[in-house]
Amino acid sequence: MHELALTENILATITERLGDARVVRVRLEIGRLMAVLPDAMRFAFAVCTKDTSLDGARLEIDEVAARGRCRDCASELALDGVVALCPCGSADVELLAGQELQIKEVEVA
């Protein structure tokens, strides 16, 4: 349900910078660890942008896979579940990617 709050932040950030310029496309980068559901994001985006300068804008979401580095054996690993567990047995994994939450680019008409 935080997709709504995130969308409100996205709207505020964009309109603060671009005023009432007509926005036709927004590209986001979202890490897989951020517990953001792209479908819920699209729904929230459609609802929140209604009657704003972003009304009808296309929302593109680039999902970023989660990666980490083991603090014990220093190897890099893909993190596909919620638990960061290195094959060496250590759970002490530094996150390298997967926590992104960025507005990458915005296209204005």
């Binding site: 349900m1 935080h2 709050a5 995130l6 932040n9 996205i10 505020a12 950030t13 964009i14 603060e16 910078r17 671009l18 036709v24 496309r25 986001l28 660890l33 951020m34 517990a35 919620v82 638990v83 960061a84 567990l85 759970a91 002490d92 939450l101 960025q102 507005i103 990458k104 680019e105 915005v106 296209e107 204005v108 008409a109």
Partner: protein, 266 residues
């Protein structure tokens, strides 16, 4: 894709040097290109792509940094208390305030979607409290806490920020706190840390509340701790019961350590 310009769109090319205006027709479209000395139109030229590279939560992070500086100047240690609804945040706060009252200045920011009930409970326990009703919001944000700080005007001691009961959204919003504490309870599942890893990953301390109910529920403290350590190996885990007070002295010790350490002012 257009082989001439590689622009990724279907379109036609007109060459000025070709008297017949030879067309390389790909698909009837609303724009056309000319290369080199040719003229070149895109309807999309009117659109402009702006590289943003801005964190979605940049505004919140900025305001949180303000709160953090303000709290440091006031020598207040802010503790962000997060849990699912019903884990016992307010009961633990009542117990905590009753135990520390007189020893330290204590203030509370209560976040709830509706009602003043929790702030009333805190005031009844002797704390100074402001209630933030977030309405439809499912978490506190840095702007709300900033306004509450102005109203509360705390000086020294500890400020407890009781977040909205929710294990997802509050994890994303930095409030400017010094310490993040997650409260779970034995009436919830042992797998809570695995289901809500973001929340547990961000916590310095995990309190496991309601251990007075352990004889009546199927819950292994060890398994819970192992799960919490899988998502956050550095988290300290403290089992306690706000109702019976078992384990509460260790929690009070944690608070005293933080309020007297350098973190109180940094």
């Amino acid at each position: 894709m257009c082989a001439t310009c590689g622009c990724g769109e279907d379109h036609q090319h007109f060459r000025e040097d070709d008297r017949e205006h030879r067309r390389h027709f790909v698909r009837a479209d609303d724009h056309h290109h000319h290369h080199e000395d040719d003229h070149h139109h895109h309807r999309a030229d009117r659109a402009r792509t702006i590289a943003f590279e801005e964190a979605v939560l940049a505004r919140n992070q900025h305001l949180a940094a303000h709160n953090r500086a303000e709290l440091r100047a006031r020598e207040v240690v802010a503790i962000n208390l997060m849990s699912s609804p019903g884990a016992g945040k307010t009961t633990l706060l009542e117990r905590t305030l009753a135990s520390l009252a007189g020893a330290l200045p204590l203030a509370v920011i209560e976040g709830d979607q509706e009602t003043q009930a929790d702030a009333d409970r805190i005031r009844a326990a002797g704390g100074r409290a402001v209630q933030i009703n977030t309405g439809t919001g499912c978490h506190l944000d840095a702007a709300m806490v900033g306004r509450a700080l102005e109203e509360l005007d705390p000086r020294g001691g500890i400020l407890f920020i009781e977040n909205v009961g929710n294990l997802v959204c509050p994890a994303l919003f930095d409030l400017g706190e010094a310490v993040r504490v997650v409260i779970a309870s034995v009436t919830e599942g042992e797998d809570k840390p695995l289901k809500y890893p973001h929340m547990f990953r961000a916590a310095e301390l995990v309190l496991l509340n309601k251990i007075d109910l352990l004889p009546y529920v199927e819950f292994s403290v060890d398994r819970f701790a192992a799960n919490a350590h899988q998502v956050n190996p550095r988290a300290r885990i403290l089992p306690l019961s706000a109702r019976s007070s078992e384990g509460v002295p260790a929690w009070l010790g944690f608070l005293r350590d933080h309020s007297s350490s350098d973190r109180a002012i940094g």
